[in-house]
Each structure stands twice: as structure tokens, then as C-alpha cells.
Amino acid sequence: MDNNLSILIVDDELSVRDSLSNWFIEDGYSVDTAEDAKVALKKIEAFNFHIILVDIKLPGMDGLELNRRIKSINDEAVVIIMTAFASVDSAVQALKDGAYDYVCKPFDPDAITHIIRNASKTIHLSQENISLQDRIKSLVNVEDIIGESEGILKVLEQVRVVAGTDSTVIINGDSGTGKELIAKAIHMNSSRRFFPMVIVHCGAIAENLMESELFGHERGAFTGAQYARKGKFEMADGATLFLDEISTISMKMQIELLRVLEAKTFTRVGGNREFKSDFRVICATNRDLQAMVNAGEFREDLFYRLNVFSITIPPLRERTEDIKPLSEHFVKFYAEQMNKGTKHIGRRAAKALNNYDFPGNVRELENLIERAIVIGTGDTVQLKDLPLDHVAAKPTWESIQEMEYHHIQGILEKYDWNISRSAKALGVDRVTLYSKIKKYKIEKNK
């Protein structure tokens, strides 16, 4: 994906210029290079680069002087100084002269990524002279969120509002309603989108490993370890921390979480370096946290910290208008995925889907359709491709005649309009069946 930001790399070493160019091109930046300050200044006068990476040691004019010159030409450009460990002092001078940050060569890819993401965020924010919240008129960058119901439109409106803020969000919804999808939508429409969304499955963390999982551990904490481990809080610096199934969090983890939410600092296990982490929390739950607080199963102080903004996704059975567009969306997706050509949904199949109450919500609908595409043949998803026969039979008619009509139609469908087998199943002869078909004008449906 292109991000519409430009980078100029100023370094006298060709291999450095090449490596960094490739790295940033793959990251979606448009990249230019210069081998010395003179060439760099020419390019900077001709073009407004967003980010300029400057090696401190350059032939001729050095990086410190170049940094000052850049500031007089384009003071909005973000200048990042590249330095060897030995010359960190001069990098500090560069910061005083207005450089954005510095990195030591060779860079830790994690460190440079972090600096560049921060810079991108700063640039994007400054480009928006109106607030982010006003800017997000329509949601972007999300895999299609399908739905036309009032329920889902209200959810999307809340996403739009909250994405422009940094506040903590609780997403409530039964299993499979799309909580993770909505969390992604918030993240992708926030200024944190350049950073990842770090997911923690709260219930899945073993108690004895929890601290290492959340805070990481230093290399020395385990014999034989070559590298330090980063915990989830560290990974989430600058990012969105998605706490999935927050209701399953242990009491011990509730305490740790509360502490970090308040202090925003922590240390790795086996170390005493203090780490700062700036993350935004989004939680998901399928249980009523307030009720858990009342029952003493969830800390009240943590609940109030988390419950700043709350979004509730209604279950699918309460927004049946969404079943049709969702089904069509999944049919299109899976048919394409499995190279099955174009497919549409048969009338009786559609009706059965509409009548079903989907305890597993959208995920269940998705799974049903995926399975139907796997087993189905032809260009139509038929009722027999769905494990919903019983649902279709749920009577919405009252007279015996109507019942007979629907029953015969169902049996014909079941036996693929094989008259002999259908007649046998109905316990009538073929002639009787033919006359009923005629009487009720039953047609083979698509």
C-alpha cells in the first residue's frame, strides 16, 4: 500500500542508500537518495520531502550543518539523524537544532520502524488542520463491514466518532457478532494505524507465564536465551492494544493491567530498565462486565478505567435485514476463493437463512455459506447445501392446504425433483403427486 509520504536518504555509502531505499519502498514510501549534502540540498530545494534521513558523517558539509540548512529551507520536514554509537553526542546536538530523532547504525529494524511510524503519524496529524474526528467523514481502510440494519449503522457511527479519539473502548457483543472486525475498524481509522493492533487473548494466558507475556523478559532471565523477549505492552507502544475476551482475565492480571494503565511504565522480567509504552486499549467481551462487577468477579476500578466508550453490536437475529447482504457477500467471496464461478442464493435457501436465528451470529452464517460453496454444485446455493432443513420447515402458514403445498415442495426439493422417490417418501403414487404439483402450481425453483 502506498502511504503518500516521501523520504530522502542522505548517506555517502551506496550499500546503505540501496538497503534503506529498498526497505522504505517496500513500506510504501516514495524514496530518493543523495550521496552528499550538496546533492541533498538541491533536491530539498526542488521538492518537499516529508522525511529526511541524514547520516551525520558526510564528506564535505556534515549532517549537523545539513540539518540546520534543511530547517531553513523546509522546516516542516522531519529530519532523522543516522549516527554511529561513537558520535551520539553530536546527534544530541542535532536534536537541539530541531532534528526529530536519531538512530544508531546499524539500526535495530524495530527501532527504525518505530521512529518512522511515529514520524508518519506526526506528519499525518499536522496535515489535518481540522481535528481527526471531523476528518473521518467516512470510514476507510477496513475490510468490508457489511450491513444495512439500523443496528450496524449505529455501530459504524460510533466507530467513526471514537476512532478520532484516544479513549478506551469496550465492544460488547455475542460470540461471532464482529467484535474483532469493529476493533480493526477503529484502529484503521485512528492515527495509530501506522502501528500494529496487538491482540491479547486474555483467557489464553497461563497464570505462571503472564508476567513474561505482558512485560517481556530480559535476555539474562533465562539461560541460553540469545535475545530478550518483548511483552505485549512493549509491542503495543504507539499502537492499539486489543484485549479480547476481557471477561476471562484473571484477578492477578486485572491488577497488573490496572497498574500499567495508570503508570504507562513497566519493567521486563529479570530487569530494572523502565519502559514507557503509549497504547490505546480496545476490549471485547461477550459477557456483561457491569454484572460481573456487581457479582464481584471483575474489579470495579478496572471496569471504570476501561468503560470510557462502549459499543454494543446487536446479535444477527435482531438485525435480520443484514442476513441477505451478508450471505451474498460471503457467497461471492468463497465462490471466488474456490474458483467456483459466480453463484447466487436460491429462494428457499435464502428463506431458510432468513428464518434461522443464528446463535453463532455472523461467524456461523459465514461458516454455513463456506460449507455450502464447498459441497454445492451448479450456480445456485440450494437449501440442501445448508444444514437448515428443519428451519425451512418452521411453519409460517396455517391452513392444511398451505401445509401440504410447502411439504410437497420441500420433499421435491430434497429428492431433486425425482418424482418416483418423492412420491414414495410422501406415501402417494406418482399420478397423485403430479396432480398435486399441478393443483398447487409448484415449480422447480432455482
Binding site: 529498498n22 517496500e26 529494524p109 481502510n141 475490510e143 500494529p196
Partner: protein, 172 residues
Amino acid sequence: MSRIKIIPLQFAGVEVLEQMLPLISARFKIETLVSTHRMDLTPFFNPVRSQYNANDIIQKMVPLVDEGDKIVGVTDLDLFIPVLSYIFGQAYLGGSVALVSGHRLVNARYGLADDPKLFSERLLKCIIHELGHAFGLKHCLLPGCVMVSTTYVEEMDQKSDQFCRSCKIQLK
């Protein structure tokens, strides 16, 4: 017909690679195979850094490519490129050669319990990611997409081995 060739270069788990072939093939809809080549990697060792230069190895691999193919070297050795202290893998946008290292994907190196299944999942994601670059894809921001840029091993566990819809469309 173009193909994807996976080339083990000082890599201990050829069976691991063989098991991945159908998955890789499905992602790119191209025949994928393991192909062995002898290549001496000692010239690419940097004694100061105790690592191997990925860019130089890739240069050396270029003649191994048949017209229209993509090749991916997979190694257990720790890789670097001149300006970065390590890399999981390297490719060029639209290029035909990629290189991936399993070195930093091993749990034990971080003081965590060994997990061969997790290792091969990570390796698969790396291979598909670098191949994605070779097929012209840039990084993606959508959480879960295999083209999300990851610079720390456990970040990799946060994404899938699948392309998101928009990456899939670009891949066509």
C-alpha cells in the same frame, strides 16, 4: 510455466519446507517445489557481526533463476543487511529472488519453550511475505494480513499466512 522454487541453503528442516508447498502454491496459484542447490555461504559471513550478508547471498542466487520463476532461499543462518542489525527476510519489489532466515524464529532463542509447529508457521509467513514483495506487493496496515511489516518475532504470531482482500486483488 512459471514456478516458485524453495531452495534450502544450510537449512535443517527440508521436510518442513515440503509440507508448506501446497499452502504456498495455493496462495499464489503457482506450482511450487523444493529444489536443492549447493552453495557455499562462508564467503558471506561477516566475522565482526557473526552474521551473513543477505544482499550478497541474493546476488549470488540470481543466476539460479529460470525465466519467469521466483526463488526463495531458506536458511538457518542469521542474516543482516549493511544498515540493519538483523532481518527475517529480504526481497526486492517485483524481483525474482528472496531470502528468508529461520534463525530468529526459534522460540528457544528468546528463552521460551521450544515449539516446532509455531516455528514452521512463522517461517511460512516469512516466505509468503517475501514472495508477496517479489510479486510486487508493498506492506499492508490491515491487522492480520501477511503483508503487515513485522520486525519482532511475536508480532508475526499476530498475523495470518493469508493476504487480505485488497492485497489479494493487487496480486492478480
